[in-house]
Assembly symmetry: C2
Homo-oligomer: 179 residues x 2
């Protein structure tokens, strides 16, 4: 799939390496195919942002499994562990998102698309938590966003403390930040 190949290019070569031709090569499709699907670089990037959302979303099975559990700090911690596991497994997608966020500092059109998408996802997280009767409001969820993104940045690039298991860090964060 072309969008997946685009995410691979982003993760492996950075935003500057993202060209229609590089995506053609990564997807092993004839030259010009990516341009047919995504006419401009902005259209390509918008397509990649959408695809990131699809690939990082929980599966229906994930959601079903958790729905049966009683809401509380333990379930909140389970959700956080699921998210971190998904973003760690989908390493290239998470790195592609970090690349796009750095690129957004250089290109206001991208900051627009990406910022809107991130804020919608954040508000979705807040609404989900409330509907599920989970602890933690808007303020706490923002804190978790920062801490988890920093933790993933550490784990997916150079780490300051590789010996401590990621799940222990999550437990510490839940214990401290959820109130």
């Amino acid at each position: 799939m072309i969008a997946d190949a685009g995410l691979t290019v982003l993760a492996r070569h950075g935003a500057r390496g993202l060209t229609h031709r590089a995506v053609d090569e990564a997807a092993r499709v004839p030259a010009g195919t990516t341009s047919n699907y995504f006419r401009s670089r902005d259209a390509l990037i918008t397509g990649l942002v959408d695809r990131i959302g699809e690939r990082l979303s929980p599966t229906p099975e994930d959601l079903e499994r958790r729905r049966a559990e009683p809401p509380g700090p333990a379930l909140f911690a389970d959700y956080i562990r699921d998210i971190v596991r998904r973003l760690t497994t989908e390493r290239e997608v998470t790195l592609a998102l970090f690349e796009l966020r750095l690129e957004s500092g250089r290109r206001p059109e991208l900051a627009d698309v990406l910022g809107r998408w991130q804020r919608a996802a954040f508000e979705g997280d807040v609404a989900f938590n409330e509907e599920a009767g989970l602890p933690g409001g808007r303020r706490q969820i923002a804190l978790f966003h920062y801490a988890i993104e920093g933790l993933l940045f550490d784990r997916l690039t150079t780490s300051i403390d590789p010996e401590t298991p990621t799940d222990e860090v999550i437990d510490d964060l839940v214990e401290g930040l959820l109130r």
Copy 2:
């Protein structure tokens, strides 16, 4: 200064844009000057990592001012605020560091240099805290690293919650994570 021009190139064009020639241009020096100082791309990157350390270090005046205050959570929060202020003001340096960390996932030699430098800085933070009699051990300081890096990533690129002042986020983090 050539290393500063290199950091500007990194922040503005990403790791893939970092070439000796691009640094010559950014520093407005004759072509070939950067190559004279830093013979290889690895030497250039090592020079940039050193320069990041210099530019993000607290000034002697900063340290002197805080040394007079009694150690405790309030002083710890002041130090965190100082760090965040410095990294926010030195926007290009912080972004250059994020770029290098993403690049380190693609280049093991860089991961080596950068990882060693980050871990030494982390151990330095732990030792500083202990010597100053401040609350928070190794585990807590790692949590602050993750949370603060995620917060800076948010504030320097696209933000999920731009309305909440950064200092309020820091207060929440200190209240929750320092124990």
